[in-house]
């Protein structure tokens, strides 16, 4: 596969809510009231419970891993958590190639909700699997 600047990579999408968050809390011991209780989320200024930043992080990894293949490598990734993932949102992880330097591919990556608002923008470097 030839990769070039501007390529959009295959996305990873999930509808989000307690069903996702509770499963993630169960494996990551993340039973935090703001992620489990609407009153706690509202008190934190988000209108209700909201999802874990770490799960957004996982969705970005899932997207990259699927694209680079089993023998590919995620070299680095950084994101900022800009906007909360609230209940009922459809979250999509996306990526666009920004540079190709030998076998190292740089991308802008982000998660966004169904209206296109970015939740967690960032960047990543990967190597494709052979």
């Amino acid at each position: 596969m030839t990769v070039k600047v501007g390529d959009e990579i295959p996305t990873f999408t999930r509808e989000t809510g307690f069903a996702n968050w509770n499963r993630y809390a169960a494996v990551n011991d993340e039973f935090v009231p703001i992620h489990m209780d609407d009153a706690a989320g509202e008190a934190a200024g988000n209108g209700g419970a909201f999802g874990m930043g770490n799960l957004q992080w996982a969705y970005l990894h899932n997207m990259l891993r699927s694209w680079i293949g089993e023998n590919g490598e995620i070299l680095s990734i950084e994101v900022q958590f800009r906007s909360p993932n609230v209940k009922g949102q459809t979250v999509t992880a996306k990526g666009v190639v920004t540079a190709v330097d030998g076998d190292v591919i740089s991308l802008d990556v982000w998660t966004e909700q169904q209206e296109g608002t970015k939740l967690a923008p960032g960047s990543a470097k990967v190597k494709m699997g052979k």
Partner: protein
């Protein structure tokens, strides 16, 4: 109104090692459950269901370490810090914040985590800065987490950023 959060103690702490945690050996079932959760409701890839190695984002410290020690002189609190660092033991001011947010993460990966691996996490102080925002003066904190395996190979180095105001 707070004029600054940054005193010499906070500024000079950058780079100070704070704690060392050692994980239990990584189990295939922990990887499998992790993958089911982060791919739900679609099936997780087979490679994680019959796991030899873990997804990069897997956390072997999620349910606590096998051992933990503070590296800060005089810290006998016994408190295990999974994500942050012991600012009290570092002598930082006892700030009172209205809110604390997960600002982001920056991670560089080394070798994969495999079933049976034992991971060591050394946490250290990153850079503390401040910035004016719509909620007033914000403190931007960094803690740095360096994971190595039982062969002393780098697994990953993560900078966690917090925002407090």
């Amino acid at each position: 109104m707070t004029e600054t959060y940054l005193n010499d103690t906070v500024i000079n702490a950058k780079g100070t090692p704070c704690s060392r945690s050692v994980s239990y050996p990584i189990e295939a079932s922990a990887i499998r459950k992790w993958a089911i959760a982060v791919y739900w409701p679609e099936p997780a890839p087979e490679v994680f269901m019959y796991a030899e190695y873990a997804p990069e984002d897997f956390d072997p410290f999620a349910w606590g370490p096998a051992s933990y020690e503070s590296l800060l002189p005089g810290d006998d609190s016994g408190v295990v810090y999974r994500h942050g660092i012991n600012e009290r033991a570092l002598g930082f001011p006892e700030w009172k914040f209205r809110a604390g947010l997960n600002g982001g993460m920056n991670c560089t990966y080394g070798v994969r985590m495999h079933v049976g691996d034992v991971i060591t996490d050394v946490k250290s102080v990153g850079e503390y800065t401040e910035r004016q925002g719509r909620n007033g003066l914000m403190l931007i904190t960094q803690s740095i987490s360096t994971w190595t395996n039982q062969r002393n190979e780098l697994v990953k180095r993560t900078i966690n950023t917090g925002i407090c105001y």
